[in-house]
């Protein structure tokens, strides 16, 4: 599946912060070089300190993720922008399905997932979106 945007953002922010280096005053070239070297060393050390806990968090979490029994299910969340392929998977029809088949599948899946019967509004929205997307490009 795709990486959720909110999940990837914190890692990017940490990387950007690690690359930040403070501005130096105009000095002699030798002095500037010495300063830059020491700044790089400080930034490098700090970056390592930022990475270490995040790396630990990663390995701790990976160890705890269930492995057996769940591997046949599709991984990850929904696609950020629904594709025709995903729409077909949601409705349980082939991407080349006819309009009738799409309508039929939509009705069936929606009845099962109806919010009025304890279904999830978010899933219902995805089901409707899938139908709209399939119907947009279907000619038959």
């Amino acid at each position: 599946g795709n990486m959720a945007k909110t999940g990837a953002a914190p890692v990017d922010e940490i990387m950007r912060y690690a690359e930040y280096s403070p501005k130096t005053n105009i000095r002699s070239d030798a002095e500037i070089d010495r300063r830059l070297v020491s700044v790089r060393v400080v930034v490098g050390r700090y970056a390592f300190q930022l990475w270490k806990p995040l790396g630990q968090a990663f390995s701790e979490t990976v160890k705890k993720m269930p492995s057996a029994g769940f591997s046949s299910y599709y991984k990850g969340g929904f696609e950020q922008k629904m594709s025709r392929r995903e729409a077909g998977l949601i409705l349980g029809v082939s991407p080349a399905a006819t309009k009738t088949k799409v309508r039929e599948a939509h009705r069936r899946i929606m009845v099962l997932n109806h919010p009025d019967k304890g279904g999830s509004p978010y899933l219902a929205a995805k089901i409707n979106e899938a139908k709209d997307l399939m119907e947009k490009e279907t000619r038959r």
């Binding site: 795709n2 993720m65 991984k75 990850g76 099962l112």
Partner: protein, 126 residues
């Protein structure tokens, strides 16, 4: 007599002052440790979202739970898992998302429990 009384009062004030300073120091250390624990659990939450490819927010939306109540989560999961069974004409893809959402929320509950355990270790009197 007054001189001795004065001495006792001064010593008393010093003892209280020192005890108060020590208490302040301990409070500060405890709150710093708590902040570190929250920071750690925030990182773990971000890591879980990244590894599973599902954010906490999406997991809550899929299972339609506003709070991380284990009972609410279990009830919603069981219903949504059942209605999306392939054998009754449901969508295996949707069922998968329901499963992954439950996994993600279980992981979040774990992370929160760890943070609470660490905090209670810092504050044994609470």
């Amino acid at each position: 007599m007054a001189k001795y009384l004065a001495q006792i009062v001064v010593m008393g004030v010093q003892v209280v002052g020192r005890a108060f300073a020590r208490a302040l120091q301990q409070e500060y250390a405890a709150s710093q440790a708590a902040a570190r624990a929250r920071g750690r659990s925030g990182q773990q939450s971000a890591a879980a979202s990244s590894i599973t490819g599902m954010s906490l927010q999406e997991a809550q939306q899929i299972l339609n739970v506003s709070t991380l109540s284990p009972e609410e989560i279990q009830k919603s999961y069981e219903h949504l898992f059942k209605v999306n069974e392939k054998s009754v004409g449901g969508s295996f893809y949707l069922q998968s998302k329901v499963v992954r959402a439950k996994e993600r929320l279980d992981e979040e509950l774990n992370i929160q429990k760890q943070e609470q355990n660490q905090q209670s270790q810092q504050n044994p009197e609470t």
